[in-house]
């Protein structure tokens, strides 16, 4: 009985999230007339694809999506590839300045892109990198958080394993990418997915680093749908929203376990 009451409560709570989503999808299939009509039309009478056609006519969805996915995937892969050797050096190698290097990584954890975009914009403007993929990717090629997480995970790997690999004549790079990376699979998969989703979704950095269509990402394009027309074009904006959200929701549906673990990571 208590369980049923709890489930009813949980469904009611979930409605606070699902009803807005349902409204978004329903609106994307409406016609302009159905949006402005009084009394209000709650659900569209037919699945009108006019709003979606309008989105495709206004922004180059295929190109924007390709740019966004290429950018996010490149960042995610670079972060993993570069975090491994750095985390390895911090966790397993003895050298002068190791504590200082680790302190630099920790300090960078505290500095978000919102605190660096003004000077980085000026630096990129000086070398004419504004409106390039490089401006979107290179500042995030290294993740302080990723380096930190790999370092933490590696401290739990016994040194004997690395010694044994060295005895067998393995180079440091073989140890990092062949011996240790399979052991860190859960950490690396989480890092890859979280990084991909974050940068796919990111609005802030592409907004401040681009001024034209050359490398406009999908979140920028969809946000622009709302700025372009006046009045109620909500069916078009919501259609853009659906297109923007589907890929990340697909990733979420397929890899929910990894994303949740990544979020729960520090606990």
């Amino acid at each position: 009985m208590r369980r049923h009451a709890a489930f009813a409560g949980a469904c009611l709570a979930a409605a606070a999230w699902l009803v807005p989503y349902a409204w978004m999808v329903a609106t994307s299939f409406k016609t302009l007339r159905e949006i402005v009509e009084r009394p209000a039309v709650w659900l569209p009478l037919s699945l009108d694809l006019g709003a979606y056609r309008e989105v495709f006519a206004t922004i180059d969805v295929g190109r924007s999506m390709a740019i966004t996915i290429a950018m996010a995937a490149t960042i995610a892969v670079l972060q993993v590839v570069l975090a491994l050797p750095a985390g390895y050096a911090l966790a397993k190698l003895r050298f002068v300045g190791r504590r200082f290097a680790f302190a630099v990584v920790l300090a960078c954890l505290l500095v978000p892109a919102q605190a660096t975009f003004v000077p980085v914009f000026l630096m990129f403007a000086r070398v004419r990198l504004i409106d390039t993929m490089a401006a979107l990717i290179v500042p995030f090629a290294v993740s302080a958080l990723g380096t930190f997480l790999v370092r933490q995970a590696l401290t739990r790997v016994p040194d004997e394993l690395i010694e044994a690999a060295r005895m067998d004549g393995a180079s440091e790079w073989t140890i990092i990418y062949r011996v240790l990376s399979p052991l860190l699979r859960p950490t690396l998969v989480s890092l890859l997915l979280v990084s991909f989703v974050f940068h796919y979704n990111d609005y802030f950095w592409p907004l401040v680093m681009t001024t034209d269509d050359a490398v406009r990402t999908l979140p920028l394009g969809v946000a622009l749908l709302r700025e372009q027309g006046t009045g109620v074009r909500w069916h078009i904006v919501m259609a853009g929203n659906v297109i923007l959200s589907l890929p990340v929701l697909a990733v979420f549906a397929l890899a929910q376990r990894h994303l949740v673990r990544a979020v729960r990571g520090p606990i």
Partner: protein
Amino acid sequence: MLAPTLALLTVFFVVPIGVAVVESFFSWDMLTPAVFVGGANYRALVAHGALLAIALRTLGYSVMVVCATMSAGLALALLVDRPGPGFALVRASIFSAYVVSWVAVALLWMALLDTNGGLLGNTLRALGAPPVALLGDPRWALPTIAAIGAWKLTGYAMIIFLAGLQSIPRSLYEAAALDGAGPWARFRHVTLPMLGPTSAFVGTTTLITSFQAFDVVRIITQGGPARATELFVYAIYEQIFLDLSVGRASALTVVFFVLLLALAALQLATWRGRGAPT
């Protein structure tokens, strides 16, 4: 092995802070040559209490988001901390908002709250009440975007609180029940104290995330109405891209960085004080 990491971190995190400090002492519009002006940029920001207003507004927004996110996240975690696919689906629905873009969330809520054809407007009209333009009212705009921020982050808080709840040993509840503690007493004297470190973690991470809020403001209100929603990062954005004032944008960036350091210090203090959640 460390070289690429340290080089990139230096170029994109350490050097920019230095560049911001230097630029904050110049007046520059990116077109004409820069002029050294000493502390004039800082004085201009402090004048008329503009800087204080932005900082307090950002803090107010963050505190609202943190309070709403933590209470809703904890309540939901307690509600859905049960086995079964039904509850798993509910958890996934709530957490999904944390996964989608801020752009999608901001546009969705603009549409929902729109007085013409939005869900809120339509519902009010159906009930015979006049539609309210929450986002157009200077008193309500900031609490409204804070509510939108909390809607997005609640799933995050819920997931962390669930992890916290699941780490509380069953034996503590059994011992409390043996001592005659009812459900409320068990919650008050077992669950809440045991969630201390988790709460500190959720609270400080949400506070720092909210302090950096930009997307909701840029997309929904552009700082308006009457500057009611001009948050810190948006103010920096306005200075450099709308007013073309590199010096003031840099000065604001320096202040923003110092405030973030203060929040980070607060974070470390709460984690140390209550035991780090590791």
